[in-house]
Symmetry: C2
Subunit: 356 residues, 2 copies
């Protein structure tokens, strides 16, 4: 039975990326060696990392002012790298949930942190609006998509100070005006590739302005200078990123996937609204196009959560369990998830409704 993979991350990847990765592990480009047993300083790998970089630059229209880096350590490492490199005295954070809060916590080790806005009062079910950003901040940090609560910024906000965004879970899902950001970062393991590599897009002229000494590996300038090859990079994850970006380009790039993402999300949210068994806990205008949490409706509040999960599992759906902070269910419908899987989930929700 075909699996419909709604995992929140690591998550579904394009099948061509998976197949090309498996083939390269056995033999890269017919050179008689595996991708994972060659030096990262060979032409065979350098062409991989260079193409990953140029594809990302092309797909996101990254201006020449910004550099693209491939690092290890995950987005969580960026939570400290950002203040290490950008915070002199005071930084602002918008608290839209768990990950935004973790980023904020880390910054407190480096100086004064202003929580410019928060959606904590309503369990992070909305994106804050109508706040004022103090103009004396070194930067403002936002988390553009909240993987757990299913909220998302749908536009690039205007900001009077350098804007830094964790885009781990919605990068490449819609066009982004990169020029509005001082830095964009994220773990690759949603729309960009597998776990084990972190992308950073940083405006180079904003670096080198803090007075502290930065450990070499935590200084973005180290990795700019050596093209992400200061030390051995995560070779296999970067290969899969390249394959994923090639796939995205082949289907028409970010504008094309945005249309499909909108179509998938519209269909799923419409079903959640229509279906008498389910409800969305999220403020309609802030609903994420990537992560769709839903809960039982009032009518079904006494049904065991496992009832729907088991029902869906029998129909080949995996990864639908909601995060413990929200409960219920969560369908992550990232770029590589086909419309067909959303349609299968909708059919499953309809069947479930009839079965009760």
């Amino acid at each position: 039975m075909k699996k419909h993979n709604f995992s929140a991350g690591p998550c579904i990847l394009p099948r061509t990326a998976i197949e090309n990765a498996a083939a390269a592990v056995l033999d890269l480009n017919g050179i008689g060696l595996s991708l994972i047993e060659i030096s990262h300083r060979t032409k065979d790998f350098e062409s991989v990392i260079d193409e990953a970089t140029s594809l990302l630059k092309e797909l996101l229209n990254v201006p020449d002012t910004h550099k693209i880096l491939w690092l290890g350590g995950g987005a969580s490492m960026q939570f400290c790298m950002v203040p290490f490199n950008f915070m002199e005295k005071k930084a602002g954070y918008i608290n839209t949930g768990v990950w935004a809060k973790k980023a904020q916590k880390e910054a407190k080790l480096f100086g004064e942190v202003v929580e410019v806005a928060s959606s904590e009062d309503k369990n992070n079910t909305y994106i804050p609006k109508g706040y004022t950003v103090p103009t004396d901040l070194d930067y403002l940090h936002i988390t553009t998509n909240n993987t757990i609560f299913g909220t998302e910024y749908h536009t690039d906000i205007d900001c009077p100070v350098p804007l830094i965004a964790d885009m781990s879970s919605d990068i490449l899902s819609r066009p982004v005006d990169v020029s509005k950001y001082a830095l964009i970062y994220g773990g690759a393991q949603k729309n960009m590739g597998p776990a084990g590599v972190t992308f950073v897009i940083v405006r180079e002229d904003m670096l080198g302005k803090v007075s502290r000494q930065i450990p070499t590996m935590l200084d973005y300038r180290t990795h700019i200078k050596d093209g992400s090859m200061f030390n051995t990079p995560p070779v296999f994850p970067i290969f899969v990123v390249r394959e994923t970006l090639k796939w995205l380009k082949s289907i028409g790039g970010v504008p094309a996937i945005q249309k499909i993402n909108q179509q998938k999300a519209d269909a799923l949210y419409a079903e959640i609204e229509r279906n008498s068994c389910f409800a969305s806990p999220v403020n309609p205008e802030d609903r994420s196009l990537m992560n769709v949490p839903f809960v039982y409706s009032e009518k079904c509040k006494d049904v065991e959560p496992t009832a729907f999960l088991d029902f869906a599992k029998e129909r080949g759906m995996v990864g639908l369990k909601g995060h413990r902070l929200v409960g219920g269910f969560r369908a992550s419908i990232y770029n590589a998830l086909p419309l067909e899987s959303v349609q299968a989930l909708i059919a499953c929700m309809q069947e479930f409704e009839k079965s009760l």
Copy 2:
């Protein structure tokens, strides 16, 4: 033609590890999903990381006082994590070459660094001996194998202060008395697996003794507490580590591979001594069993370096170019390199000698 892979790292891995990794990328355990598209919180992955940990514990006889961690960022990230976690005032470093020096440089950001001994006077061609370790150091840092210059500690040294070792390029090549170390770390991409994951073996009761605040991701206690799953770990590299450790166990573990490594190194060094075209720049008693640099002898000093490299390449040997700091040639003969490849190299060196 079969390739003989003498790459210094990333390097040759056991063929079973490569084949099992490729199969898991296509479909893990027959679950209908790829290894790289499932959540790291699933049983399917948790069993992988747990087995990698228990295999390493078994293969190296890691005592219960020590915890095993799997991190991102590479050994270079450990260069700052070590002083972050262990240095209060003063630390000692032994300078045996490039990597040891990089580690030392990083520590200078955190306090006073004492270079306890150095082999820089002779281009790092030996391992320093006969020095005295000051007893007021927070720790002493050594690099057990010098990948570039081809020197290696062949025993676990006695040390009056906590001993910390970068074992990136000789971990698992010989039995180690882990109880003598406060911390052992290294990039996996030599004897343990592919690029993208770093192992740390740390004595837990030595943590939490510094007065500084440590960023969450740089604090070993974070990763101990969450079993290396504080954030998404590098899934694929950890899978390949498990497969590599399974292979090592299957052939008899560390004592068995040590014998083979000794046999390979003895044969190769004997040929370098015998062959009138080549010479070893390294002090005989400190020669590495992992990385064997060699240069043209006085007799052949006017022969182009590419002459031997091309000659070897035609016979299927790759990765033999010496590091620019040493010149000449370097054969890395890590655990997974079969004796047969060393024999092929020796035959090639003999043919080359006759051809001149």
